[in-house]
Structure formats: C-alpha cells, structure tokens
C-alpha cells in the first residue's frame, strides 16, 4: 500500500498532516503522537515579531464544534527558528511553516528568512485567520490581494508555497484560481468559519475577542463543498481539512479532491487521531482494492 503523496513539491510519506495551531511546534503530544509519524507538521502561525494574542477567554464550545480566538499568539520568527525548528528538524519530521502578518511586507520578510533556514519543507501562507484586526482574513478575501501575496512570497523563496484559504468568502473558486495563477504550489483549505458564542446569564459574548473561528465537525460540509469546487477549478494539489474526526471523514476529503488531509480540532479530542486516520485510510484502500491515493483523489467529483 502506497500512501505517499506529493503536495505541490512537498513529499509526504503519508497524507495526514497536523493543522496549524493545533499541534504547537510538534512535541506537545510527545509519546502519544510524534512529529515524524505524521505526513507533515504545520507549525503554529509565526509572525515577524512576537505577538501576544487575544485576551481570554479564547475558547468556547459550540454544537459539534469549537470557537477559538487565539489571535496568533507566537514568539516571532527568530525564536521559532532558534528554539523550535531545530528539534523538529532533528526528529525527521516534514515541517511546513505557517506564516502570518499584518501587511504584505511582513509576509515577504518572513518568506525570505525562512528560505535561508534549513529543515523547512514548505510554507503555508495564513491569509485566513479570522481572529486578528489587521491582516489575516482581510488579506484572504479579495482575489487580488491573495494573488499579490502569493507572488511576493514566491519571489523570496524556492520552497513550495501553499496559501491557506478562508471559507468566509462569497467565491472560494475565484480566490483559489487567483492563488494558482500567482504561482501557488498547492492550496490549503479551509481555515475556520467566523462565528461567536453568547452567555445568556452574563449577557456577554463568551470570547474575549467577541468573534472566533469555528472548527470541528460542524464545518465539515462547508469544507467538503469548497474543496470540491476548487478541485474542479485548479490543477494544483489541495490539502483538505475542516472537522476531520475519523478516517471516514478524511476519505470524504480525498474523494472530493484533496491530495492530503489536515487534522486539527480532532487531536484535542483524541490525541492519537492522526494515526487512527492513517490506519483507517489504509483499511479503506485495501477493502476497495486501491493501491495508491491517486485512485481515490477526486473520485466523487462529477
């Protein structure tokens, strides 16, 4: 059984990837789930300078989902490179660095810094975080901005570049094709849907930031639809995810066109989920007589 897959130039030994922001810098679940077991680790969003993040509470639960409003808390690229990357690299993990910023300039700087680092397999451009005032989602909702950022980042680096799309848009296909035309090597989707929760006793929004990003099973139907639409429109590979809690969910993403899948919120519920998903994909492929993932990628797209 061959579970290898090429994600726009990033070679993954298996297609199950840890979603940004849900696996820290690879060692939070050490012993239970090691960074070299999964297809790739996408690190928590890194910005040029350290970011403090949003005021608490940052987490709320919703039906079959959760809201987070972390606000891209991170120690900045320099600390990432000196403190977190070396250990990840020496573990043998495939590392994809998720980058975020307030303006084009920051993305460009980040790309050029990461390009010089060793041990990075690719860059995920976060233009879809709903939890920051400037940058983040704002940058990811207009095709022209997406195109500009992808082009600018590509100019700074030879690493595979994968923009991560926001689902909070009228026309996901327009954004995805803009990214492809601008030279993206792959597309990552979806980030969280913007939502909120209210406490009826205190009569206040639950989150310190009022709004947060909705993840988990609740968003899976939206994610599947968007991957399906984008798969029909672009030729570059898609990293699909949003609400994956089982191998069955992951297989749904392959069938609508994902070349690899990302597991996020599911890990909080079941820390071994990524490995269970991997095993379940193998079972499924065996049961259906498939020998390679290419036989199921996009198989349900009409």
């Amino acid at each position: 059984m061959n579970l290898e897959v090429d994600l726009g130039g990033i070679r993954l030994a298996n297609p199950v990837v840890m979603a940004s922001g849900t696996f820290g810098y690879g060692f939070g679940y050490e012993g239970l789930l090691n960074p070299n077991e999964v297809g790739a680790v996408i690190t928590k969003a890194t910005t040029r300078e350290p970011w403090a993040g949003n005021p608490p509470p940052r987490i709320a639960e919703t039906p079959c989902g959760m809201l987070n409003a972390i606000g891209l808390e991170n120690p900045g690229i320099e600390v990432f490179l000196s403190k977190y990357l070396p250990r990840l690299r020496s573990s043998g993990a495939v590392v994809i660095v998720n980058i975020a910023g307030r303006a084009l300039k920051e993305y460009v700087e980040l790309a050029s810094i990461i390009d010089k680092a060793t041990g990075v397999a690719g860059i995920e451009i976060n233009i879809s975080c709903p939890n920051v005032e400037l940058g983040g989602m704002q940058l990811g909702t207009a095709p022209r901005m997406v195109s500009e950022i992808v082009k600018a980042v590509k100019e700074e680096t030879n690493l595979p570049v994968m923009p991560k799309l926001s689902p909070n848009v009228t026309d996901i296909v327009g954004i995805a094709t803009a990214a492809e035309c601008a030279g993206a090597d792959a597309i990552s989707m979806i980030n969280t849907l913007q939502g909120m929760a209210v406490d009826i006793e205190t009569k206040r929004p639950v989150l310190g930031n009022i709004f947060g990003g909705l993840s988990g099973p609740a968003i899976k139907p939206v994610a599947l639809r968007m991957v399906y639409q984008v798969y029909r429109a672009v030729d570059i590979p898609i990293l699909g995810g949003g609400g994956i809690m089982s191998a069955k969910d992951a297989i749904e993403f392959f069938l609508v066109g994902a070349s690899a899948v990302s597991v996020g919120t599911g890990t909080f519920v079941n820390p071994r989920l990524a490995m269970e998903v991997k095993a379940g994909i193998e079972d499924y492929m065996e049961r259906h007589g498939h020998t390679g993932l290419d036989e199921i990628i996009g198989a349900a797209v009409l």
């Binding site: 939070g28 608490p56 509470p57 940052r58 987490i59 079959c64 099973p217 519920v269």
Partner: protein, 272 residues
C-alpha cells in the same frame, strides 16, 4: 510525560449536593500523577446531540493509588459536561489524558505548611496534604464552603492527619463567614513556611495578600477554559498580572503558579 488511558470507572458517587467523587482505573496516570496536576477527561454525550460536549474537561487529581492503579477526582456539576459525567457508572469507560500540567512544589520534610481551599479548590489541596503529611510536614488546612454539607473532603483530610480549620458561609460548621477570615487568626510569627491555595479568585487574592504581608512563599492553582490541555492550542491563556505583555498557559505553564506571580482579578482564574 503523560498517558491516554481508557479508564474503567470503579465508582462515581454523589458525595453532596451536585458534588461527585469519581474513581477509575488508570494505572499509568496513577503511577506518575503529582498533587496539582490534572486529567483531561472525555465526556459521554447528551441525548440532544447538539448539546454534547466536543472537548475534554479538566479536573485536578484528588488522589492517586499507584499500587491499585487508581485515580480519583472530585467535581461539582457546573454545566453540561459535568452533568453528563455524573451519569456514568461503574463498569463504564472514560478516556482520560494525564497527568497534565505542573503540580505543586513539594515542601521539604519538617516544614509547616498552610493550605487554603474553597469549594472544589480543595480537590488538589487534599491530595497535596496527603503527600506532604507522608513526607513529614506539618499541615494546617483552612477549608471553606457554603455550608457544612459541602465540606466533602473534610473526612479525608482529617483521616490523613491534617489539622483542619473550617469556615462556612451559613455558619453550619466552624467559623461563620469567609475562609480567609481564619487567616487573621494565624499566629503572627511563623504562620507557615509555605502556603498553597486553590479556590475562588477573591479568596486567592486574600491569601496572596496574607502571604505577601507575612513574607511566606506560596503557590496557587488556576483555572481556565481548555481545548488541548497539553500546551499546543494556546486556548487556556491567562494574563497573570495586569501589566504583563505575555499570557501564561494554565495547562502547561500551570495550573500551579507562584503566588506572587499572580494578580487576582475578581472572578478570573478562580475555581468555585
């Protein structure tokens, strides 16, 4: 180092109004758990699927029995998750992740320690008392609750040899009023070598003030909404002091923090 165990429930008894003690078989966690650490527990679902909790729930270790491979937690029904937890019975299984977080720093043998707990804050302190007494410390416990019936850890504390001083809001047992009123009665000299506290923020704020005045070092255990429980999601952030630029992660930087590193805002970080 922590473990994911499918833990068989051995008992899940109602010990007071809306208060439960759960014991389950989790030998790896039992072997490693320390006072102040917590477990992250998956909750069984609600009849109404849309009201079922997705995320695990954190609870302090109330006790471990490494020999028998058992751990226990003490909890209060607060919302949907704890309501559902109260419904599971012996023989059923729960997925338990732990032991998580940084526990209390254990004081050296012979030292005199003061524990100040309110409500469910007593859970980690009762476990701590056990360990401290074993190692030969002298343990004074100031224990507060709404009413005598809620002093559910008192027997355990007294059996293990701690000297307990009780306060209840309704005066049904011990001092009538706040547990922190009892602080004033502590001897001015050498009240304790170390103070440990867990409970409502207002309470911990008083304890911190007392520790500062007397120059006694101390530790508190904080609370926050959690997703991962292991430090990767940054969801449990709290700002320890109003002026701090950075947030601390309750799950992995804590839940136990040095008492002088925390400024207690009303309602935040406390446990009821």
């Amino acid at each position: 180092m922590f473990f994911l165990e499918n833990a068989e429930i051995v008992e899940n008894d109602r010990v007071g109004d809306g208060l439960y003690e759960l014991k389950c078989r989790a030998p790896q966690i039992a072997g490693k758990g320390e006072p102040g650490q917590f477990v992250h527990v998956e909750i069984k679902p609600h009849q109404d699927a849309s009201a079922s909790p997705l995320l695990r729930r954190p609870f302090s270790l109330y006790g471990t029995d490494a020999e028998r491979g058992m751990i226990s937690i003490l909890y209060r029904i607060r919302g949907v998750g704890t309501s559902l937890l109260a419904e599971v019975g012996p023989g059923e299984y729960l997925s338990v992740l732990g032991p998580l977080g940084k526990g209390f720093t254990l004081s050296g043998a012979g030292s005199a320690v003061l524990l100040v707990g309110g409500g469910m804050g007593i859970a980690p302190l009762a476990y701590l008392a056990d360990r401290l007494l074993e190692s030969g410390c002298g343990v004074n416990v100031l224990y507060g609750a709404e009413t005598a019936r809620e002093l559910v850890a008192l027997e355990k504390l007294e059996q293990s040899g701690a000297r307990c001083h009780v306060a209840t809001m309704d005066g049904s047992r011990g001092h009538k009023g706040l547990v922190t009123d009892l602080l004033a009665r502590m001897p001015a000299e050498k009240a304790a070598d170390m103070i440990y506290s867990c409970g409502p923020s207002e309470m911990m704020a008083h304890v911190a003030q007392f520790a500062k005045e007397r120059g006694i070092p101390g530790e508190v255990s904080l609370e926050s909404n959690m997703a991962c429980g292991v430090g990767v999601c940054l969801g449990c952030a709290v700002r320890l002091k109003a002026g701090d630029r950075d947030y601390a992660k309750v799950c992995s930087d804590g839940p136990v923090f040095p008492i002088d590193q925390v400024e207690f805002e009303a309602g935040e970080g406390g446990r009821k």
